[in-house]
Structures are given as C-alpha cells and as structure tokens.
Subunit: 253 residues, 2 copies
C-alpha cells in the first residue's frame, strides 16, 4: 500500500532558514509523539521551499534585461516581463520553443520545461522570482543527511507535457530513491519479454505526493510517502539526473 | 491522505469476460467482508484488462502488412515486426516520429505515444497484440455503471515522455473524476495570481496507482485509490479527452 500525507504547513521559508529543522517540526506535528523520519519513508518537498532556503531567488528590480530578452519577450507576444525572460535565459542553455506566450527551454540541469522552472507565484515579496535549486540532487542529498532518520528525498516541481494538458509533478532532485525501475529484458507473467517497460518511479512518487496537498494555495510543500521501501536505497544513488534524456537522444527539440 | 492499494490479481481476462464481476470479487478479497466499492473511491484499471475483455486484440497471424508498414519498419531499423507496425498504423491518424527503432504516433483518440499504445507484453497467447480500447472514456463509463457502488474509474496506460527517461502511467479513459484542476487565475497564499497551475489530477492518480503494483510482472491490473473525494464527481465528466492537447496547439509534432 502507498500512502501520501501532507505535512502541516511550514512557516514562510527565507534564505538561510534551517529547512531540515522546519520539516522535522512539521513531521512531529503530523503524528504527535513521533520524532524524526523513518529511513524507508520518502519525503517529497516542493522545490520552492528548497530554493527559498538556499536563497535561489532574484528580485525583478535588480534585473536588467538584455537585448535578447527584450527581443524574445516581443516575439512571445504575451504579457511576460522582459526581466523575467532575462532570468529564464540565464537559467537555460537553449530555447526549445518560444511562441504564443509560451517559453520552453532546456535548463543548465538538462530539464526541458516552461520558463526554466523560474516562477513568480508563492513568493513572499512582489517582484521576486524563484529559481530551481542550482544542484537539486545535491540539495536532496544535503536534506537527507540533515533530517533525523534520513528518509529518501524527492525535490519536486510541476512540469507540463508536450501532448497533454495540465501539469504533473516530477522529481528534479533525488537522494535515496531509485529514479527508475528497469523491467526491460525481464519477462511478463507469460514468460514473454517485457519490451518498453522502464518506470519513472521517482516522477510517479512526486505526482502521488502532489495529490495529497490541499491545493496550490494550501501552503503544504512537504508530503510524506510510505510504501516505496523496495525503491529506497542506502546510497543516495544517481539522482534526478538519471531521468534527463540528453540532447543527442531528444527527438523533439 | 491518499492511499493506493492493488487489488489481488485477477484471473486471466478473456474477450467477453465480465470485468466488473472480476473486479468486484477482487475488491472483496482485498478487504474480506467488504462488498462493492464506495462512490468516493477511484478504481484505476490498467487498459490491458479492459481491452482484453472488450476483445481489442489482434492476432499477428491475421495481419497482412501494407507496403507502407514494410517501408516504415525498414526505416525504423529496429527489430519490429512489420505486422505490428501495420497494426500501429491502423490505430493512428499520424506518424509523429519514426527513427532509431522508436515509433511515436497520434492515435485516433488523439494520444501521442509509442506504438499507438499497441503492446505485445502480458498477452496470453504468443503473437497477439493488445490495442487501446476504441473508446476508453466510454469503457470507463460502462465500468463505473456496472460496478456496485459506482466508484470513479481511471483506465491507465504507461506513456513515455519527450524529455525524460522512463514511463509514467496516465489516464486514457476516465469516468467520475475531474481530469484537471484549474488554479489559473486563482491566487496564492500571498494573494498573487497563480500563473501556470493547471493540475492533471487524473494522470497523477494513474501514476500513484502504478506505484502500488507489485511490479509489471505482478498481475495486479487494478488499484483502489482513496483520498481524492474532492475531485470525484457524480457526473462522469469530460473524460480523458479533456487531457488531449489538440494538433493545432501542439508545438512538438
């Protein structure tokens, strides 16, 4: 059985805050009398609180948009702020699509997503942007090490999909959870080889966790997931980088 | 709290089987003493058992590949059977990509996925292919109507993603669950408008359910999900068709 339970809301997270301490307190509030985490649990944390604690925010007022950002903003034809576009470009190695108000790029981490994951919602101050963590797998490893009981960590963000409406949460940083489960070459119940069966376990865990939140306005950035014991590893493992399809194998950029 | 529990394995499903009766028996076996489903539960069912019960299978021996299927098989350069490619083409309105052994098409339903969802694994007889249901939303509605207690239904399949390794389960048919939750235009905890927040609830439910299975060889096609009450609707709703990004809005075909 899989269970996913949102931890009670954290206080507003600020740069330099001890996120591990805040999460540990919230864990205790979820089950009074409980102290710390279990090693077989998976804690899914919205990237925004990780980025805020790490100071990965940018004040729009401090950004001077480049000529390229101004040109791209005009081309996008939406209501984007050229300073926002400038920050997206700084976080990206490549613009994948820019049309109809939609800006999809490949980030320095290799993720292909809207606006390089740079987001303006759920920011404490107006005119502040939240970036993805610079090294989300490193952030996940640090959080795992700092949390009592050392649960597996998934740092999640909501990504759109090329051919489907809406967004699903995916893993942008992972420590201690196998990102993928490979059934290719194994056999099915009839002894026939399973062909294209390579499960993105950590992305599915991020999606399951998102369902447990009260909503995008509920202020519940952390969700405790149980039942994934067979995917939890003592080693931190390859992280979310293992989920990135590299540019050379990308059929759609 | 979200919970996801796999129902005990079904017997091998054959064309004409009463899938609702098989699922009801399995539901009883999960919690002995329980009879039927609750209306606020969501039953996620792998498309394969739905397709099998509906007779949506094709024997390879009965397929004569067209010239186009032979040409495409050659171009793919993998180990595909031209008869399999022929069936994929019959299920498709458009080939989206065909290279390096990978065949991605747009199905008659509008789904963009590998091999039009036509799969050779977990088939009882060698040389048999399983198609997606012809009308998966209709299949979901029929299953909901037939099950005692009328739980919401998600018919799921595993789809790859353009820029990420591995597959996640998504909803190909839905009855009684809101496919999407729209937070666009609503405000965050700070009163700022949430921009790109449009959650693919039903796809995330399919992914959560997949995590509860013992594995692709476990023969556990059905998973009971609780905790999604606020997304369950009395009406069957728009179904998985609401998740399809139409061709005109597709930036990546």
């Amino acid at each position: 059985m899989i269970t996913a339970r949102a931890l009670p809301g954290l206080p507003e997270v600020r740069a330099g805050d001890d996120l591990a301490a805040l999460l540990t307190t919230a864990r205790g509030a979820l089950d009074p009398g409980t102290s710390g985490f279990a090693a077989e649990e998976v804690l899914v944390v919205a990237h925004k609180v990780v980025s805020k604690a790490e100071g990965r925010t940018v004040a729009l007022a401090d950004v001077e948009p480049s000529a390229r950002a101004r040109e791209l903003t005009e081309r996008l034809g939406g209501d984007k702020d050229p300073r926002h576009v400038e920050v997206v470009l700084r976080e990206s190695v490549e613009v994948v699509r820019a049309e109809g108000g939609i800006l999809i790029t490949r980030t320095h981490h290799g993720f292909v997503c809207a606006n390089a994951g740079v987001d303006a919602s759920n920011v404490a101050r107006d005119g502040e942007l939240i970036l993805l963590p610079a090294d989300p797998d490193g952030s996940a490893r640090a959080l795992r090490a700092a949390l009592p009981g050392h649960p597996a960590i998934v740092i999640a963000d909501s990504f759109g999909r090329a051919w489907r409406h809406g967004q699903c949460d995916v893993a942008v940083g992972i420590a201690g959870l196998a990102p993928l489960e490979d059934w290719r070459g194994r056999t099915d119940a009839h002894g026939r080889e399973l062909r294209a069966t390579w499960i993105a376990t950590a992305d599915q865990a991020a999606s399951a966790a998102d369902l447990a939140r009260g909503g995008k306005d509920a202020g519940e950035p952390a969700v405790l997931v149980t039942g994934l014991e067979r995917h939890v590893t003592v080693e931190n493992g390859p992280g979310a980088q293992a989920l990135v399809r590299i540019r050379a194998e990308d059929l759609f950029s």
